[in-house]
């Protein structure tokens, strides 16, 4: 039975999640040097093109097709076969299944784009396109199936992931760390000046991410209902709390509160509340947000100690924030589920298992995919191209002109 309200809300939510990918492009684009701004924006926008096609051809079917042993969806929805205007019996049964399909597509798009934060200013564009395509097929689709599909083994185990803490953020965050390690540092890192060229752009991007995230989390209730209301509220509160705690940590640590700190913190909070949004109370959301701001701030500081070049902190914010959020869900859950604070130790353990599984799987597969691409076409641009900038050398364009 199709509900007009649910359909309307999920269509709007899909559009909101779509807007997050351009938002991410601006968020990242402002943090690189001006000679690489277009390339950095492009890494997000190309995901809109490539992953949309991948999802239609095979992705939706691998993720939500007929379950095969809990591990992968069958090919019964290849080219959206059977995905039409009637509701699915298994997913969001009050909306046309096409609506569920496109809502899920927006998640599949932004997830590989998140990884781009770790590889900017040095990765060959063609290698990146191959990477996100293979990564979507070999990492995103299976993990999405494990957690969210009917019959998926992590879902059956009882893992809670409301809107993609594991599927989206841990997956992307861990993969980002592996990419940073395999690709190596940018030329001159860390001694040369890698100062963000336009933080106004970054602030605009962060604003769009916050706005879009209401669709991401409240939309994941898959209906215009009470859980959507809860997820909407917890999402907003966690973003605010994390922005505040990150900038306070920074203020105490370096003596000045920074704009970049405030917007990085709000993103960390949104990441952390993602798995928890429909399961925790508004007060739980405050604790998750406050924790996310401080934990992610410490994790980006540690990057300096370890010396890897996760250029825009895709791991530090999405990986670490995602892990904190997934575990915190097992602590604070109290709506439609129970966590550690409600005496459910089992849930907490299941959350830790789901986190560990996705770290190992995404990390290993990312490594393999990168090594294959490296052997066939190489991963990095030439040193000279890196110095000149990728906008001009990869795309024949420049972001800013005098005339």
């Amino acid at each position: 039975m199709i509900s007009g309200a649910d359909t309307a809300w999920l269509l709007v939510a899909s559009a909101l999640v779509m807007l997050m990918t351009p938002g991410l492009a601006f968020f990242y684009g402002g943090m690189v040097r001006s000679k690489n701004v277009l390339n950095t924006l492009f890494l997000s926008f190309i995901a809109l093109a490539v992953i949309t096609l991948e999802w239609v051809v095979i992705g939706y079917s691998m993720a939500f097709g007929r379950d095969i042993g809990g591990f992968i969806g069958g090919l019964n929805h290849l080219f959206l076969h059977g995905v039409g205007l009637t509701p699915s019996p298994n997913y969001a049964s009050t909306v046309p299944v096409l609506v569920f399909m496109i809502f899920q597509m927006m998640f599949a798009i932004i997830t590989p784009a998140l990884i781009s934060g770790a590889l900017v200013e040095r990765m060959k564009f063609s290698a990146y396109v191959w990477f996100i395509l293979l990564w979507a097929i070999l990492v995103y689709n299976p993990v999405c199936h494990w957690v969210w599909a009917k019959g998926g083994w992590l879902g059956k185990l009882g893992a809670l992931d409301f809107a993609g803490g594991t599927v989206v953020h841990i997956n992307a965050g861990i993969s980002a760390l592996i990419v940073a390690l395999v690709l190596g540092k940018r030329k001159g890192y860390p001694s040369a000046n890698f100062v963000p060229h336009n933080l106004t752009l970054t602030a605009i991007g962060a604003g769009l991410l916050w706005f879009g995230w209401f669709g991401f989390n409240a939309g994941s209730a898959l209906g215009a209902n009470q859980t959507a209301a809860l997820a909407f509220v917890t999402t907003h509160i966690a973003a605010a709390a994390a922005s505040f705690s990150w900038l306070m940590a920074e203020w105490i640590h370096v003596g000045k509160p920074s704009t970049l700190g405030a917007v990085s913190g709000l993103v960390a909070g949104l990441v952390a509340i993602t798995p928890a949004a429909g399961f925790v109370s508004p007060i739980g959301a405050i604790f998750i947000g406050l924790g996310a701001g401080v934990i992610c701030y410490i994790s980006v500081l540690l990057k300096g100690k370890f010396g890897y070049d996760d250029s825009l902190d895709a791991f530090g914010v999405h990986g670490v924030g995602g892990i904190w959020g997934a575990i915190a869900t097992g602590i604070f859950a109290c709506h439609n589920a129970t966590g550690l604070l409600s005496g459910n130790v089992h849930q907490f353990i299941v959350q830790v298992i789901a986190v560990a599984v996705s770290i190992v799987y995404a990390g290993f597969m990312t490594f393999v995919i990168l090594k294959v691409i490296q052997a066939i076409i190489g991963l990095r641009v030439e040193a000279e191209e890196e110095v000149t900038g990728l906008d001009l050398t990869s795309h024949g364009e420049t972001g800013y002109k005098l005339v």
Partner: protein, 112 residues
Amino acid sequence: MKKIEAVIKPFKLDDVKEALVSIGVHGMTITEVRGFGRQKGHTEVYRGAEYTVDFLPKVKIEMVVPEDLASKVAETICNAAKTGKIGDGKIFILPVEEVMRIRTGETGKDAL
């Protein structure tokens, strides 16, 4: 004719321009430039990583004036741009061989 080039602190630009106009300078060209002298640079912190920015933003003013006005112009800029703190900038005075106004083709003092 002399060319005066002054590198000053950006926030002093309006004061300098007004002082110059009031002594009869009718035109000037400014550029946003970066550089350092004794002031050296400053540090910026992004997500806890500290970067040293060696080249600080300054404004360079350029104008060509008749010989007899040159020292007065320099003195005026000096007074208007001074804060007394390190990093106030410098003034250079250079000889100019010839000037031509593009619209009319006038040369020399008439072109100023």
